[in-house]
């Protein structure tokens, strides 16, 4: 890409640098949150319960007197971790299924298509709820449930890209020079599928975070006292009507900003990587 093209893109989408900064902050909090947090995120101190934001407690304290700023900071790791695990799992399995379906076509394609249709036949959040309920209420099952409901999107993106590329000239050339099918698929076709896949993944991260936090908001997955943004909002919900807004507000804001960051990042990446999609 030429430099002036990059300049043009940044001018068109001035929020992308902002998203990059937010992303850096988020990753930093996830990696070092427990080291830099000013208070112990688990230490309750009933004397200081439900304190409004102050210089000591930047985001105030919750009903047990725990420092909300520290908990929000440490919670970044949980929220980011679950979403990342779910997206990676969904992308890995979805790519494999989509590539196989698109490349071999026929009955394989039909079977895999049927599988994605079944997942898509449910409202996705309800399906995630049902899966967590069925597999058991644990963090890893939240990851599995998120991965399952994200998977169809990857299958579809990869399938359609591969199905188009299957007939491309360079694939024919690779075939004529004696490459076998799996080699053609993974070494010759897949590199071209990566850009839309990466875009899809970054757009998917925000949605996965929302999803995981929503599940823990209704009591599935992470359990208290683990600092996780969804649970913290659920904890704070009862104090909203008595005016202690900060208990629910800051974790909710953190979640919103994190999702915003990934959405903006996804849009920016799409502009750079996948110009076909650009409006």
């Amino acid at each position: 890409m030429e430099r002036r093209e990059l300049v043009y893109l940044l001018k068109q989408n001035p929020l992308t640098p902002l998203a990059i900064i937010m992303f850096a902050v988020l990753v930093f909090a996830a990696l070092f949150g427990s080291v830099i947090s000013p208070h112990d995120p688990f230490a309750s101190n009933t004397a200081d319960a439900l304190q409004a934001p102050s210089l000591t407690y930047w985001f105030g304290t919750d009903q047990l007197g725990r420092d909300i700023f520290s908990r929000v900071l440490v919670g970044a790791q949980t929220d980011l971790g679950i979403a990342l695990a779910a997206v990676l799992l969904a992308a890995a399995v979805g790519t494999f299924l989509g590539a196989t379906a698109g490349f071999y076509g026929g009955r394989t394609d039909a079977t895999i298509g049927r599988f994605t249709d079944i997942v898509m036949a449910f409202p996705l959040f309800v399906l995630a709820m049902a899966i967590v309920a069925a597999l058991g209420n644990s963090v890893i099952n939240v990851v599995y449930a998120s991965a399952i409901i994200n998977m169809p999107f990857y299958v579809r993106v990869v399938r359609s890209e591969v199905a188009v590329l299957r007939g491309a000239g360079f694939v024919e050339a690779a075939r004529l020079s004696g490459n076998r099918n799996p080699r053609i698929l993974w070494l010759h076709i897949m590199p071209s599928v990566m850009p839309p896949l990466v875009v899809q993944m970054s757009l998917n991260m925000g949605w996965s975070m929302l999803n995981a936090a929503s599940l823990s908001f209704i009591g599935l997955g992470i359990r208290p006292p683990s600092p996780e943004w969804g649970i913290m909002v659920a904890d704070g919900a009862q104090y909203i009507i008595s005016g202690q807004w900060w208990v629910a507000f800051f974790p909710g804001l953190a979640l919103t900003l994190a999702v915003l960051c990934f959405n903006l990042l996804g849009d920016g990446l799409r502009d750079i990587i996948d110009p076909r999609q650009r409006k």
Partner: protein, 339 residues
């Protein structure tokens, strides 16, 4: 032409059958996977091993899976979704009594989203980079990243706690009033039918915040898709043709551009409705709204799985029917899709 429409509807109905079958099979499998032994649960902690075994036999849990599946289908055919321990009622009856609350909320939310989202999308597509476009961009960007449960809490804090404009976020009606005589199950409509304006006002006041919460979430994808779809259509060859023929801006926008954007908009509406069916669970929890979502949630927390299963099935069936109507509507707008 009418026979064509009917054959379209017929083929779509047939096409929906596999989804329906899949939904039933998956809910059955999920129910089988549920942790714990329903027989032991039924028998209670003090029951002897024989008593548990007897209940297992009664429930048919010792039969082979295909037979159990067959029984399950038989139960479903009779409208038997099992029994809820928490309410002591048949799940089907609970769902029927609570579904109107969820539907009223979802439909009003969708209405809000459509009434605001479509004009926003149209205005921003016809005036790219104007201030309307910037507002739309802001609304769609924040709409997609605000968690609904968080939006709901913020609205409650501002409009109930700070301003005092809204009633307490507790259910569908102020405790002072009793529900209007049931006709549709939608309190607002039933109150109007009964001519009880006080109840109507109370029902509406209770409905506004949760509906706005849900509607704001649904607004973003609708406005975004309308804008993107319309922008695409406005730069199409046939809109250029219409302009080159001197057709008025209104005709170009409605007959040529908007009508061609209708298919993606309808599809997005279907998708948004399905989001809302899921997200309902969250909003119903925040606003103590007595719909099917909060019903399933209470049951889930109490490890009472028959209602959860009934809820998943009911919502999934609703979703299949919804997709069916979206498909049919799209086929009517664009005959190419009806073939």
């Amino acid at each position: 032409m009418n026979t064509r429409i009917f054959s379209t509807i017929g083929s779509r109905l047939l096409g929906a059958l596999p989804s329906l079958a899949a939904v039933i099979v998956v809910t059955f499998v999920i129910m089988r996977l549920l942790p714990g032994d329903p027989a032991a649960f039924f028998a209670g902690p003090a029951a002897s091993a024989e008593a548990v075994e007897q209940i297992r036999e009664q429930l048919g849990l010792n039969r082979s899976l295909p037979v159990q599946f067959w029984d399950y289908l038989g139960d479903l055919a009779q409208g038997d979704f099992g029994q809820s321990f928490t309410t002591g009622q048949p799940v089907a009856a609970d769902l029927v009594s609570r579904l109107p609350a969820s539907l009223e909320l979802t439909i009003v939310a969708l209405l809000i989203a459509v009434v605001l989202g479509l004009p926003l999308g149209v205005l921003s597509a016809t005036r790219p980079n104007s201030w309307v476009d910037q507002v739309t961009r802001l609304v769609t960007t924040t709409g997609t990243c605000l968690p609904t449960f968080f939006t709901g809490l913020v609205l409650i804090y501002v409009f109930y706690y700070l301003l005092g404009w809204s009633p307490a976020p507790l259910g569908r009606l102020d405790l002072m009033y009793s529900p209007p005589p049931e006709v549709t199950g939608f309190y607002t409509i039933d109150a109007v039918l009964a001519g009880d304006w006080e109840v109507f006002r109370s029902a509406l006041a209770q409905l506004i915040l949760p509906a706005v919460t849900l509607g704001f979430f649904a607004l973003a994808p609708l406005a975004r898709m309308t804008r993107a779809g319309l922008l695409g259509v406005l730069s199409s060859d046939y809109v250029r043709t219409a302009r080159a023929c001197g057709l008025s801006s209104r005709v170009v926008l409605t007959r040529y551009a908007l009508k061609n954007t209708l298919v993606p908009i309808l599809n997005t509406m279907g998708m948004v409705f399905s989001y809302l069916l899921g997200i309902n669970v969250l909003v119903e929890k925040v606003f103590a709204w007595p719909g099917v979502g909060s019903y399933a949630l209470e049951a889930l927390v109490a490890s009472d799985y028959a209602p959860v299963q009934g809820f998943v099935l009911a919502i999934a069936v609703l979703y299949v029917l919804l997709n069916l109507s979206v498909d049919i509507a799209c086929g009517l707008v664009d005959r190419r899709l009806a073939r």
